[in-house]
Subunit: 369 residues, 2 copies
Amino acid sequence: MFGADLIGRPISEVDTPALVIDADAMEKNIADMATYFAKAPAELRPHAKTHKSPIVALKQIEAGAIGATCAKLGEAEALQQGGVRDILIANEIIGKRKIARLVGMARHCNIAVAVDNEKNAKEISDAAVAAGSTVRVLVEVNIGMNRCGVEPGKDAIDLVKKVQKMPGLNFFGFQAYEGHLIMYGTRAEREEAVRASFDPLIETRKQAESEGLEVPVISGGGTGTYDITSQIDGVDEVQAGSYVFMDAKYNTVDGPGDKFSPAIYLWSTVVSRPSTDRVILDIGLKTATPEMGMPAFLDFDGATVDKMSEEHGIATVTSEDARQLAVGDQVRIQPGHVCTTVNLHDNYVVVRNGVVEAVWNVAGRGRSQ
Amino acid sequence: MFGADLIGRPISEVDTPALVIDADAMEKNIADMATYFAKAPAELRPHAKTHKSPIVALKQIEAGAIGATCAKLGEAEALQQGGVRDILIANEIIGKRKIARLVGMARHCNIAVAVDNEKNAKEISDAAVAAGSTVRVLVEVNIGMNRCGVEPGKDAIDLVKKVQKMPGLNFFGFQAYEGHLIMYGTRAEREEAVRASFDPLIETRKQAESEGLEVPVISGGGTGTYDITSQIDGVDEVQAGSYVFMDAKYNTVDGPGDKFSPAIYLWSTVVSRPSTDRVILDIGLKTATPEMGMPAFLDFDGATVDKMSEEHGIATVTSEDARQLAVGDQVRIQPGHVCTTVNLHDNYVVVRNGVVEAVWNVAGRGRSQ
């Protein structure tokens, strides 16, 4: 429902619900993270699963990032079509139809993909040879999240040895994500746990290298651990994503919440005021996701979204100013979990100084294949 | 990623994740509900928030439904553009831009909208007069869900009197949704609670009619209560939606789970088998929603999705047959909550007897404005 006719208009004329980028805040988050990584031992390869936008990915790369990370092949295609040239898919790509897309794409940009299974690696190898392309492959190692990945040590090294012998594949190192620790405990507790989770993989790397296997990179990490994981000797790339926009959940995490600012919000209208303390908003489960907690008012203390149904946010207002909210008023609401909330929207409305500057499509939205 | 080239192919050739309609099961659900309403005192006005598809809405109407219900103006537009002529928006439409769309649309189809606020009703009236259109208006009454709506009794009747005097508006009755009771208790407990929740509104209707106010309809109800609400003397329309597809949550509700069959599933691939009892699927929070509980395997006992991250479903397999699942295998997964899951997908793949028969776009997806 958004188009070029919105550009130049004040935010008050943007209809709701809308997903709005605060351009100044986003650019500051990108610059601040780039400043950090300019001095860190590891490189930044930001995860595009948060923004799903090649425009934003290219801004991150322009600021110093070495490329982009993404979760799905469809996201990689959206990034490539928007001009991103170095893309790491941090997951396994399974099945002949997707593998055909992968090796085709590898002729046109620099792609890397995770594997945790010999048969899958062999299928990618065969397809790459047939297509005349080369695919960078990372062996995914489980460092405690217990999702995908082989175990560190012998299992990992065995798979590396097999991958290294497969034509059409270029062994690129290890993919390892400490997703179970991204929001864990205090900053100090998190550091201890993250270092312990990477230890077996760092050992595995040393072991592999002692056997003469070259391991170009270990790639992992997120916004909650970027300044821990990037400092581990042996980790080369950090895949932080959420820092670009931040969300209400990260505000509760000791560390990143202080370093990056809210740069995205849901622009929402009060649609009903059934009682003094109840405000009904036009955002719900079809515009904002609840799995990490409710979205939050950015401009009112004493106002909380307690519950969402499909198209409604049910809020309680206890402060004097929040109680002034009337039907038709527009408010800024920070997503609870930014990555999945972005996935519900077709467009970003990009605003600077209260005026719409651009409308960008969420190019990777729904590209879960 | 789906197109006409998929039609005629076996389901095994459909890439994943995909949202698949079992055409036979959907048509049986539509027919069974139509059979029930052919004898019920109330009419069926199915809620399109579940399917968001004018193709499905027209099937329901062809089977006897009197029109469609929807939640948002954008959904109403998608239905109208697909040929639906009688549409009830069961929520308030706030703000001059949306009201302009509403009264414009009212020139081209038969639209009804809820109001719970005099000022909003006046704005619709003014805009309708200016546009030369007439909008049917229902006064929304709170019957215990505590979301939008005025209270039954004097508040409701006062607003009816005001609406009836406004030009361009055609007072259509009361909108009332017992959403807090849709999945409540046993069938018997639910019936008692639903009847009690409607009592004050039925009284309000009698009071209004005794004052000479014509109340054409009371419209409400859902899949969990369709055979209760449709039997209440004074309720005229039932807005059940989920019955068309069903979901894992409704399977746990005493009543509808026995009467309608699963007619939609996520077609998913096993992407990793890291241990004997762990299966990783390619569906996650960006393809399936968790707020009413995890999605469920349709074809395996002893296999449960325990957790979802953004692009992964982490399942535990305990039975012998489920443990045979290997990387690359495809499985059918029933959504936990169908309405919000559908909203994540651009297309339906429609399958009959294991062969793709059609690809339909989810026309109302993301139309939350």
